[in-house]
């Protein structure tokens, strides 16, 4: 399938170069029409088949019928301080990966990792989370605001940005969180969480 998607893009480049090379106005005009038809057709096909061949893309988002009564399960990450207290972390802590993308990676990959690989991954993420916490605690920006300040472009999914934990992070916990949207809508605490993995810096767990 990747070959097909690559071919769609290469064909676009080829048609564009054909336009570029045409010096006779009538030929050029005809080739422009071919390019327009191709770009329109490729996008239409991506939209109709819902096969994303970026940059010819299907723009698939919130397209099904939402079911507020059906359980939803997602991966969640929590930071832990030395006393074992859990903290919700800034979703830009892991940049260049945004939190929702990292959740998706964990969902797809965590179960296939060996214990050693899991330790490596979580230790690295803990380091990143602590570096982001430290930066935020010092009043310095992370993520899109790092260079552009308030003008930085946020990631498309606007997740809440909690204040940084006051204490150094010494652990990271990965949960699978499940809830029924209609129930959680009226009671935010109606979530079932199951620990998928956890990691503590240094020798052991919390004090």
């Amino acid at each position: 399938m990747q070959l097909v998607h690559a071919a769609v893009f290469v064909a676009f480049l080829a048609l564009g170069v054909r336009v570029r090379l045409a010096s006779d106005p009538r030929v050029r005009r005809r080739r422009v029409v071919h390019l327009v038809a191709y770009v329109a057709g490729a996008h239409l096909l991506a939209g109709l088949t819902q096969k994303d061949a970026w940059p010819f893309t299907s723009h698939t988002i919130a397209v099904g019928r939402a079911r507020a009564e059906a359980p939803v399960c997602l991966v969640e990450l929590a930071g832990l301080d030395a006393y074992g207290e859990e903290w919700r972390l800034d979703p830009y802590s892991w940049m260049p990966l945004y939190e929702s993308v990292l959740h998706y990676w964990l969902e797809r990959n965590l179960s296939r990792l060996t214990d050693e690989e899991r330790r490596t991954a979580l230790a690295f993420l803990l380091d990143r989370a602590e570096a982001a916490r430290e930066r935020l605690s010092e009043g310095r920006a992370i993520g899109p605001q790092r260079w552009l300040g308030p003008l930085g472009a946020p990631y498309w999914l606007l997740l809440p940005r909690p204040a940084p934990p006051p204490e150094t992070l010494s652990g990271l916990r990965v949960y699978q969180a499940c809830w029924v949207p209609r129930e959680r809508y009226t009671d935010a605490l109606r979530v079932r969480r199951r620990v998928l993995a956890e990691h503590f810096a240094g020798a052991g767990g919390p004090r």
């Binding site: 990747q2 422009v32 329109a40 939402a66 507020a68 993308v101 498309w156 809508y185």
Partner: protein, 279 residues
């Protein structure tokens, strides 16, 4: 079709389009300053990458130094395209680099959401700018200054039409009902805590307005490509729609500034001296 894509336009229309595309891409790229650091993530994160996907985007690990050079080169060529320095060459190089770097998250995580990142239209649009002639400031009106602009607008218009097609395919006309909009708000609310989600979910009238407004906008936006009069109505409506989506669902539309592509810049710039002379 003929009027939208091949009618003569002033050279400023194409120049303005290049500036908007480069500025948009620069905004997104500079908002992701840590992008080259992805290269330094431990191998375990890259171990699940589908080789075909990385090859398709010509992505090869370069090492941290070359990755920063590639990122710096992208910023430099986008700036060059923005100010009109070797506009065709800088646009072409920028488009190639965007094609490689925009899907990095998709390559690593396998999450097909590159199109939400705000770089899709700039990537295709900058290629189109490179395929076209570069206009001199005093060039006479020509179809050459029109077709890349109109085609870029069409690409952008698909960010409305394609979601409509997907909704009709996966949910049918029932997507456009108050109940479905309310359910989507409930599904998103625990994640995004969007400020107006609860207020809209609590009102049948507002849920219906969102449902029918979405249908009307997504179905009609392609008209903006073919009719400046339609664009004058649909572009402001689209801006309101995206601000509303951020407030109700917590979905930000990073391509929002690209609505400026629908302004007839050559007409505006040409009209100013005439207005002054008349005064």
């Amino acid at each position: 079709m003929e009027a939208a894509f091949l009618a003569p336009a002033g050279p400023r229309l194409l120049s303005a389009t290049r500036v908007i595309l480069a500025a948009q891409a620069l905004w997104i790229v500079l908002s992701r300053p840590a992008l080259p650091l992805l290269e330094r993530w431990p191998d375990v994160f890259w171990s699940g990458v589908e080789p075909g996907l990385a090859a398709r985007f010509l992505y090869a690990p370069l090492g941290p130094v070359l990755m920063w050079i590639r990122y710096g080169a992208l910023v430099a060529v986008l700036l060059a395209a923005l100010i009109g320095l070797w506009p065709r060459i800088s646009s072409a190089i920028a488009a190639v680099l965007l094609y490689q770097l925009a899907p990095l998250e998709e390559i690593l995580a396998g999450m097909p959401h590159t199109s939400f990142g705000g770089l899709t239209t700039p990537t295709i649009g900058l290629f189109l700018v490179a395929f076209a002639e570069a206009p001199a400031p005093d060039a006479t009106p020509s179809p050459e200054w029109r077709w890349p602009v109109a085609l870029t607008r069409l690409v952008f218009a698909f960010s409305y039409l394609s979601p409509l097609l997907a909704k009709l395919r996966f949910a049918g006309p029932a997507w456009f009902t108050a109940d479905n909009v309310r359910a989507w708000i409930m599904v998103n609310e625990p994640l995004t805590r969007a400020p107006l989600g609860s207020a809209v979910a609590g009102s049948d009238a507002l849920c219906w307005a969102v449902a029918l407004g979405t249908l009307a906008l997504e179905a009609s936006f392609p008209l903006a490509v073919f009719s400046p009069r339609a664009a004058r109505i649909l572009v402001p409506l689209a801006a309101v729609f995206h601000i509303g989506t951020a407030l109700v669902l917590g979905y930000f539309f990073p391509s929002l500034p690209l609505l400026l592509l629908f302004v007839e810049w050559d007409v505006i710039r040409a009209a100013r001296p005439a207005a002054r002379a008349a005064a």
